[in-house]
């Protein structure tokens, strides 16, 4: 739980749910520095949620396909987005009736 208790780490995790990425690419998409991203990735790796491997000259980070960590991350993102669209729909329909 600790590893994903941090909003930035969760954002990194959700980015990786879209596919493997190198550190630089993650840093570009989030308002954090590259060293900070590296630090967060270290925590995620230690928690067993993320693995890395060398691909040519780049080191790619990806969600750990073993276990349920990545599945949780996927559904976390899935339901958060679903609930946002639900909120939008129910408030609109409620407004129409008032």
């Amino acid at each position: 739980m600790g590893a994903l208790g941090d909003a930035t780490r969760r954002a990194i995790f959700e980015l990786l749910a879209e596919g493997p990425r190198p550190v630089g690419e993650i840093a570009k998409e989030l308002p954090v520095t590259r060293p900070a991203v590296s630090q967060h990735l270290k925590v995620l790796k230690e928690a067993g949620l993320v693995i890395d491997h060398q691909s040519g000259t780049r080191r790619l980070y990806q969600l750990n396909p073993e276990g349920v960590g990545a599945l949780r991350a996927y559904f976390d993102r899935f339901w958060n987005q679903a609930l946002v669209s639900f909120k939008h729909a129910v408030e609109e329909q409620n407004e129409e009736e008032r």
Binding site: M1, L4, R10, A17, E18, G19, L63, P65, E66, G67, V68, A70, L71, R72, A73, Y74, F75, D76, R77, F78, W79, N80, Q81, A82, L83, V84, S85, F86, K87, H88, A89, V90, E91, Q93, N94, E97
Partner: protein, 159 residues
């Protein structure tokens, strides 16, 4: 919105500005009005989504060609307080017929004010889907996969 992740379970919640009865009915019988049109495993084009309002019923998608995809069983139904459905979709993104290998989604509705309702969602027993997450990720990460659909939907909601 807040999120908490624990072993094999995803929990999230959101507060909406609507009465509890309305919130429950839009979430269930009105599921087709908010569920992403891209989040379906039906082969054919989607005609409608149906949430059968009773224990033993199903949540299913109906295609324009009449085909049906029953992707959830209604395990508990207590309007307007909540419901539990099974998640009968496996990691290969196909219907799972073995209920021992399906997860569960519980949604609870709590009235905070007459026109404000908190929706609490728990997707549990994710470990029952077993190994094979990578295939699911590859499927949803493909150009026509769910990830793109989600992004598309989030963009539309923000617009």
């Amino acid at each position: 919105m807040s999120t908490q992740i624990s072993e094999a379970t995803v929990r999230t919640s959101i507060v909406v500005d609507a009465p509890i009865e309305k919130t429950f009915s839009v979430f269930t019988e009105g599921i087709g009005t908010w569920w992403s049109p891209d989040h379906h495993i039906l082969q054919s084009e989607l005609a409608e989504m149906v949430f059968e309002p009773r224990v033993g019923g199903h949540v299913y998608d109906r295609g324009v060609d009449g085909s049906e995809c029953r992707w959830a069983r209604v395990l508990a139904y207590d309007p307007p307080n909540g419901f539990v459905i099974s998640w009968d979709i496996n990691l290969q993104w196909q219907l799972e017929s073995d209920s021992a290998r399906t997860s569960e989604v519980e949604v609870r509705f709590v009235a905070e004010e007459p026109n404000r309702t908190r929706v609490e969602l728990e997707h549990r027993n994710l470990d029952r889907h077993g190994e094979g997450w990578e295939q699911m990720r590859d499927a949803v990460g493909s150009p026509d996969g769910w990830a793109v659909g989600l992004q598309h939907f989030a963009d539309r909601v923000r617009a």
